[in-house]
Structures are given as structure tokens and as C-alpha cells.
Symmetry: C2
Subunit: 335 residues, 2 copies
DNA sequence: TTGTACGCGTTATCAA
DNA sequence: TTGATAACGCGTACAA
């Protein structure tokens, strides 16, 4: 059994409160005589004392832990963002508990329930649920909360990329390459990001076909198999997993279509297909979450409660070499 | 403030213990009269009672939480494995706390210290530390522990891929393609996996050059730039990140070298470089962790303590299309 | 079937 | 500068 304050108190002939003050009293520690202070520390060291954080949190109602509930940890996007958020939080003395709802509403609910019961000081959520009401039923009133990546109407504590701008720059790039018609491969429409991206695409191009399904590779593959016969000039996928599936099935085509995609595609320069992708600013997203959270955790000293305003970040369009070649050929005749 | 057992007891005119028994007594609940049982449940529902898990864990010394401390969550390999481990644990009633040491020994130590103080029922660790002794100083005696991916001498509770077999099949494949000499790009030698892979490669091929650095893209890029002039027939990278960097820099080469790599390369069929990779069995690794852990958490009913033996899984070599073409040309003359 | 009383390890209040 | 003592919210042995 790990030693407790009582053990140290006994060993050092003092009281539990004294020991507590020395070991974790902060400024209080200085109000204890140097003699006993040293003695307590010495014994604590020798016994290998380590505070029981459960007990401490129960008493102080503070866990110094932030939960990050993402929609799919297998997606490198969230792995990277998790990694960066964690670094950011560490600077403020918080540690991160990373959870995975796996795009499953039930598991999201379970986890929300679990982490709040376990006691967390704040929550960063990539929501499956898109309803403010159902959310407030599981998330305690007043818990510092940041919604990440997928806006929920009515919640202003938000950090996300600018959906419209991201879609526009993708469309602009396709435009410049002479694209007029596209096929769309998209994730579930009840997810805000997928839906909005589809809408914007439809408003700017003639949509030949639209395949919808779970936002994974399999959906992309299935869609690509059907699209082989249709030969659209461009295929736009509403996230990276879909695109991976699509491209996987499009390998053997002689004159592949242009692939438009949101999120990063690893190794895109090397791929023989022309790709344009609308990339999010990952570091800024991560940092946004942290500052957004800290605003709620460390309220201003001067009674002024700083308003929490959404942080909406710009995306940038990136093309690969295969695309650049194509674009040149297409725009050359016009000049 | 969230309601507690006391609130319900007051409201329902019973005692705290009765309420506790009804709400979380398990079999005990049946030893309470149906009348009060229903009344308690009704009130608990109405008040929206949710047990405080901190308090419960403090009392029961059980958190139903397993910590998974990985070396780099930004690596999709660990994202996927984390996702699968979590699913596996959920079936046994445990939830997962995913932490990231980011290949940093200090952060590993910090996290080990943190999670054990917070109270966990078990730990799955992808170690930076490779020493049993230093590990046992932070990890409490008797805590169910599983070492994942990187063996530590003296610890038998291990789940990993067969290093040697994995390297051998990679070498075999290169052999069949006619490769005699290789350049190596590897991660830090103090990490078991990188070191062992290097050793085996050296024993089977003439090593032209060897670049070592942190196991990330940048190291790979730097190495590739130097290798451009040397033109080795094959470049072997000891993990996927290194390979990504290498390939990124090797895009424009007319006759690219063969790339040998451990771990999965996304989209490898599509890449114009010949690639062979030695892939680990992810689902088996994840499941191995869970069973290994459960053996320690749920000791056999019949006093026989089941021994914990290392789980070592076979890898399989996968080649892409560019490689297959190459191999055919090389082996054709021999036939 | 139910209630009383105690302990889990810590911090906070009050008095000395 | 220090020490009793009471919480925090919960589970459980013991008694009724």
C-alpha cells in the first residue's frame, strides 16, 4: 500500500494537517517552521509518498484534467490535433484525457456521462450530436466547454475552420482548372461539415452524381467503382477517408479525374492523380481550443467576464504536382 | 450542484445506505423491498442523480479505467490501435484513458506518475524507457501492466510483433527483387525496434549508408537529400514516418530506388515508387493487449494463476504495384 | 428489510 | 506555527 499523509504524520510526530500544508499547501508551506518542513519532506521522500489524486479532487472539486472527446481517433487529423492540444494544456497545468466516440452517438453519450461523473475541469468536444438541447442534458451546467470542428447552433464557444471559405477556395481552384461538372462523394448529411460542403459545391458546379455513406474508406471505394463508368471530370470528397477509398479504386485509370478533397492527403505530391485539397490550420485549431478553454477556466482578475466568441479559422488550398500540370494545360488555350 | 445520495435519502425518507444499495448495490438491490426500491429509483431519476465516480473509486479502490500511454498519438498506427483497444476494453466494462508521451522520456515519466496517482486499474504502455528498473520506480507494484510494441527485457507481459520475422520477410522480398545493397534510414538506436531492425538488415545486405535521427518526416527528408547522389538500389526505413519523409524528397527521381519500410504506408498502391512494407497485425495487437490485461484483472476462479506469457505476432510483407512490376523484370532472366 | 457508523485520503476551518 | 475536527460522496460491516 502506498503511504498516506497519516503515515508521514505518525513517522514525523506531527499532525496530518501540517504534513498536508508542507507537501501541497503552496504558499501555506512557508508558514511552517523550516525545521518541521524539512523533516516532513525528508520522511515523505524516504517513504516515497505520492498524493492520492482521487482524494484530493474529491475534496477540492478540481481535477486539472480536460477531456477531449473526438469523433474518430483513428483519423490522423484528430491524432495530430489531440497531440497539439495536449501540449498546449500542459503549459497551463492541465492534463488531457482523450476519448473516442467512433462516430457513434451512443458511445458519445456514454463518454460524456462518464467523464463528467469522473470529474473534469473542462471538455473539448467534436460532436456527433448536433443539438444544443440534447447536449445540455448530459453536460453539467457551467462546465467549461469548447465545441471543436463541427458547429452546433446556439453554442458560441466554438473553434472550427471556416466551412464556406474552405469550400470556396476548393471551388475556385477547380474553376481555374476548367472544371464545370463534378461528382460528389460525401459523408452523412446530418453531420454539419459534410452537409455544408455539399451545398456549396452544388451551388457552384453541376453535380453529375452524389454518393453518400459513412465517412470511411469503404464508402469511397464503393463510390469510385460506380464512377468508373461515368467518368466525371472531377470527384470531390468531403473528407480525407472518403478520398483515400476513391483513389484506391481509381489507380488503374489512364486519365484519372481531378480529386478535390477536404483535409490533408498524405503524400499527395507523389500521387499520380491530380489533387486539390482544402487544408485546415491544425496548429491554430489546437491553440484556439486551449485559449477558448482557458478563458473559461481562468476568468479575468478584473471582474470583466471576457465574452467567448467563436474562433473561425481560414483554410488554404493546396494542389499537387499532377494537378499543377493539368491546370497549366487547361488555362493555356485561354491566354 | 449535482444531487448526492444524501439528497435522495432526505427526499425519500430513507437512509443513505439504502439509497446506495438500490442505486449501485448490484445484487444487494434485491434485498430491498420493492416499494422503497421503486421510490428511490423514481426520486433519483427525477433529481437526475449521477454517482460521483471520484468518491466511489476512492472508496472501492477501483476506477474501471485503463490508461494507454503511447509514444506518439499523431502516428495513425497508434490512433488505430488505441481505437481498437478501447472497443475491446469496453466489452469488459473498462474505459480507456489515452495519453501521449510524444517520444519524450520526461513526459512519459510525468504521465506514469499522474495516471497512477489518479488511480487506474491497469496500464498499457508503449515505452520510451527501456529499463525494467526505472519503470518499476514509477509504476506501483502489482498494477496490471502490458508492454506494447517495444519489448523491455525482464517483463513478460508483452504484446508485440515479431521483430525478427518482420525484418526477415522484408529482406526476403528485397532478395527476390535482386537487391544486394541497401541504404538505411533509421530512428534512434536506443529504441529497441529501430535497433533490431537495423541489425537484421545489416546481417543480410551490404549497407551503403546509414542515417539516424528522430523517427519523423524531417529525418527522412534530410536523409533522402543526401541519398540522391548516392543512388542506392534500395532504401530501407525503420518506420513509416521516416519513409514518408524519404519518399517526399524522392518524387522527381526518374528511376527511384526500392523503398523498404516497416508499418503501413497509406495509398501505397498508388505511389509511383516500388515499395515493400512489413505490416503488423493491428487487430491482433489490440486484442492481445486486452486479453493480456484481463488475465491480470480477472484472475481465474480456480486458484490456478494463469501465467502471463508474451504475445508475439507475425507480420506480413506487402508490395505495391510498382514493386511487383520491378520484381518480375528482375526475376525473369533467371527463369 | 433497513439504519448507524465508519473509513477511503485529502483539504479547509477554526481554535489554540 | 500547529493540531483537532469536519467535510467531500460513496460503500459496507455490523447491528437492529
Amino acid at each position: 500500500m502506498s503511504p498516506t499523509l497519516v503515515d508521514i504524520a505518525r513517522e514525523t510526530k506531527t499532525s496530518v494537517s501540517t504534513v498536508s500544508r508542507v507537501l501541497s499547501g503552496g504558499a501555506m508551506a512557508n508558514r511552517i517552521s523550516k525545521a518541521t518542513r524539512d523533516r516532513v519532506r525528508e520522511v515523505a521522500d524516504r517513504l516515497g509518498y505520492r498524493p492520492n489524486l482521487l482524494a484530493r479532487s474529491l475534496r477540492t472539486r478540481k481535477t486539472n484534467t480536460i477531456a477531449l472527446l473526438v469523433s474518430d481517433i483513428a483519423n490522423p487529423f484528430f491524432g495530430q490535433i489531440g497531440s497539439q492540444i495536449e501540449r498546449g494544456l500542459a503549459k497551463h497545468g492541465y492534463s488531457l484525457m482523450l476519448c473516442n466516440s467512433a462516430e457513434d452517438a451512443k458511445r458519445e453519450a456514454d463518454y460524456l456521462s462518464l467523464v463528467t461523473q469522473k470529474g473534469i475541469d473542462g471538455l473539448i468536444l467534436v460532436p456527433i450530436t448536433r443539438n444544443k438541447k440534447t447536449l445540455s442534458q448530459v453536460v453539467p451546467e457551467g462546465l467549461p466547454l469548447v465545441i471543436l470542428d463541427r458547429p452546433i447552433p446556439g453554442i458560441s464557444s466554438l473553434v472550427c475552420s471556416d466551412q464556406d471559405q474552405g469550400a470556396q477556395i476548393l471551388c475556385d481552384t477547380l474553376d481555374r482548372a476548367g472544371v464545370k461538372q463534378v461528382a460528389i462523394v460525401c459523408g452523412p448529411q446530418h453531420v454539419m461539415t459534410h452537409r455544408r460542403r455539399c451545398e456549396l459545391l452544388s451551388s457552384r458546379f453541376e453535380v453529375l452524381t452524389r454518393h453518400e455513406g459513412p465517412a470511411n474508406k469503404e464508402t469511397g471505394k464503393a463510390a469510385a467503382l460506380k464512377l468508373v463508368t461515368e467518368k466525371p471530370p472531377a470527384i470531390v470528397c468531403t473528407n480525407n477517408f472518403l478520398a483515400l477509398g476513391v483513389m484506391d479504386s481509381l489507380a488503374q485509370i489512364e486519365k484519372p479525374p481531378i480529386i478535390g478533397v477536404f483535409d490533408e492527403i498524405p503524400m499527395m505530391h507523389l500521387l499520380p492523380l491530380p489533387i486539390v485539397c482544402s487544408m485546415q490550420d491544425l496548429p491554430a485549431l489546437a491553440e484556439g481550443c486551449v485559449t477558448q478553454l482557458m478563458k473559461q477556466l481562468e476568468p479575468q482578475a478584473n471582474g470583466v467576464t471576457t465574452e467567448v466568441e467563436p474562433i473561425v479559422l481560414p483554410n488554404r488550398a493546396v494542389t499537387n504536382r499532377a494537378f499543377d500540370v493539368l491546370q497549366f494545360a487547361a488555362s493555356a488555350p485561354a491566354q
